[in-house]
């Protein structure tokens, strides 16, 4: 901020816009919820929520959709952070959804619970009567997301219809919905991966240790490095080895790849991202590689 010239830096401008979005939702919806994954984007969301509502409490709950295949480091971090900021967390469990017979688990070495999360998420939204759900998605992540609104309207099946999105003008958001419908709200819509890391560095936010380089037992599949874990079966020819890696995104252990890295500090990570030649989803997310429109298809079904 340059108070002499009344100018804001680009991060300050983005931050102010995100805070505005948080407050609009708090004011216009009955039961919002903040979807928290323990990843870098949702960590930034929590800080922005603090900036929007302190010294008051958050006017909403925090919810984690736990696939049961999360990195243990991330779950530990999640619980500690939520306690630190003194807010309330609920956990919606994909395992419970499987146990109740609502979904059938994929089998085989490439099985993933990624798609199953959608059912757990939509069930939880219905069960709690949430009418708005904050998510950490950014438009720079993926081509289908580039077309999504800040207020992303979902019908009573949780579906996204890209051709029927509401025009979003100035900073006037239309949050009107009918019973059973809800809105996904993306306060980080205009942030890039680099913005997120610069912000984390400036705010000195703590992130789970897996974002920094560490030695880990991994194996290589489809050109990506995956963690050895009880949730993944090796296929013939795949062999574990140790490598210095870090994660660019935090998802399930089954579908989130690691990158070789020696970035041990936030400053190292910022430099690495500024110099990278591959997008975060292209480099680390098997879930986007299924088809050319993998994200678009999952979003239509009600995915994050």
């Amino acid at each position: 901020m340059n108070p002499l010239h009344y100018e804001l830096s680009h991060l300050e401008t983005l931050e102010a816009e995100s805070i505005h979005i948080f407050r609009e939702v708090a004011a216009e919806f009955e039961r919002p919820v903040l979807l928290f994954s323990g990843g870098k984007d949702s960590i930034v969301l929590l800080r922005l929520a603090e900036k929007a509502f302190r010294p008051g409490r958050f006017p909403f709950l925090i919810m984690h959709v736990d696939t049961g295949h999360n990195f243990p480091e991330v779950l530990e971090f999640r619980d500690r952070l939520v306690e630190q900021i003194g807010e309330r967390l609920i956990v919606a469990s994909v395992q419970d959804t499987i146990d109740s017979g609502r979904v059938v688990e994929e089998t085989g070495p490439r099985a993933s619970r990624n798609r199953l999360q959608t059912t757990t998420l939509l069930d939880a939204i219905a069960e709690h009567g949430f009418d708005a759900a904050f998510g950490g998605a950014r438009r720079d992540e993926e081509r289908a997301r580039a077309k999504e609104r800040v207020f992303s309207f979902r019908d009573d099946f949780g579906q996204w219809e890209p051709k029927r999105q509401r025009p979003e003008l100035w900073s006037l958001y239309n949050g009107r919905i009918r019973q059973g419908e809800h809105v996904r709200v993306f306060p980080l819509s205009n942030w890039t991966e680099l913005d997120v890391w610069q912000y984390i560095a400036e705010e000195q936010l703590e992130v789970p240790p897996i974002y920094f380089a560490h030695d880990r037992q991994v194996f290589e599949r489809d050109g990506m490095l995956y963690a050895i874990s009880p949730h993944v079966e090796l296929i013939d020819g795949e062999a574990p080895f140790e490598a210095s890696v870090r994660y660019r995104t935090v998802g399930d252990m089954t579908c989130t790849g690691a990158v070789r890295s020696s970035a041990g500090t936030l400053a190292d990570v910022v430099s690495e991202i500024a110099a990278t030649r591959v997008t975060e989803r292209g480099e680390t997310r098997a879930d986007d590689r299924v088809t050319e429109a993998a994200m678009e298809d999952r979003k239509r079904e009600g995915y994050f």
Partner: protein, 431 residues
Amino acid sequence: MPGVASNGHAVPTRAGELLRIATAGSVDDGKSTLIGRLLYDSKQILSDQLEHVVATSERRGDGYLNLALLTDGLRAEREQGITIDVAYRYFQTSRRKFIIADTPGHEQYTRNMVTGASTADLSLVLVDARKGVGEQTRRHAFISSLLRIPHLVVCVNKMDLVGYDEAVFERIVDELTDFAARLDIADISFIPIAALHGDNVVERSAEMSWYGGAPLLYHLEHVVIAPDRNLADTRFPVQWVIRPMTDEHHDYRGYAGQVASGVLRPGNEVVVLPSGRRTTVAGIDTYSGEVDAAFPTMSVTLRLADELDVSRGDMIVEPDDPPVSARELDAMVCWMSERPLRQGSRYAIKHTTRSARAIVDQLEYRVDVNTLEHDHGHPGLSLNEIGRVRLRTSAPLMVDRYRRNRSTGSFILIDEASNDTVAAGMVVGAQ
């Protein structure tokens, strides 16, 4: 807790502003190619994105690296080679960060162009050098002017297909300058480019030595936008009241919002509208501590010296130059719904943080966006049409003219049956 700056100021970030760009062009103007070229030549395209373009170009048999594929995100768009909706692109250079709202040019998507234009600092319009100024170019220039985008850059594209001929460029400059003179555009620039080959996009073209201006990217990096903001009229729409009522903050009462215009400082005398009660700013809070000034577009929390009844939808303003507290508005509207606007219809209206209901008392005229002529006597406005209306609202709105203030001069209309956003509105006058 980590990250709390003790001096009350945000930690300084990299110097650099954010420039929001709205682009428009017809399907064949090469707009997607231009954006792809900007991203590619400024080295913002990452290798997996490029691989995808290479593979898809080959599969489609394009015969060249089809950079338009970088920006067309949805399945139908890639299949039909069209752009359906507003897409947002991000790139940065060492000088600035850019957000591009990329909107399709065909007529049925005027509403998307208005959407992209509503937040833009700069409008980028493409003209095909072979075709010259057409209906769409005129419509884009008109919408840029209507939405008060301060800067207009006209890229005359496909110069390679007219032999890089200066006379072709000059003819288009003259024609569009004539048209723009009838509009209200503060700053207009023309750049001859060939997006497919990159001439004058990032690098200066070797083929057009007669062009003395800067390439497009240089222009985008250097256009001065800071004076475009309204720092004169203090307007603070209250979004949310912070009342923790905890032991620690028992008596805290803060009014949270984003500064729409003007500068607020502790000690300033202010008026709360619509009640008209006067008080002073006791303090300006942020999460990181108190600040000594709040200006656009900061999100802050104001504390007031007196205990007043202030709630969401109220506006805190300076006493000397308040907005008009109005229940009758004259406004230009862009109609965005398939169900036409009819005189006498009722809608929900959202203006800053205040919502009310509005009746369309009168449709004064419809604007022919090609000739700028006013057609009187039309019963309604159809999708993508623009017209001037008189509205009556169920509660007073604190408005300024849009040309003075893009925040307090804008509103949307919402159909109460479908909940769709049906119009973008810009205040021309108020009573």
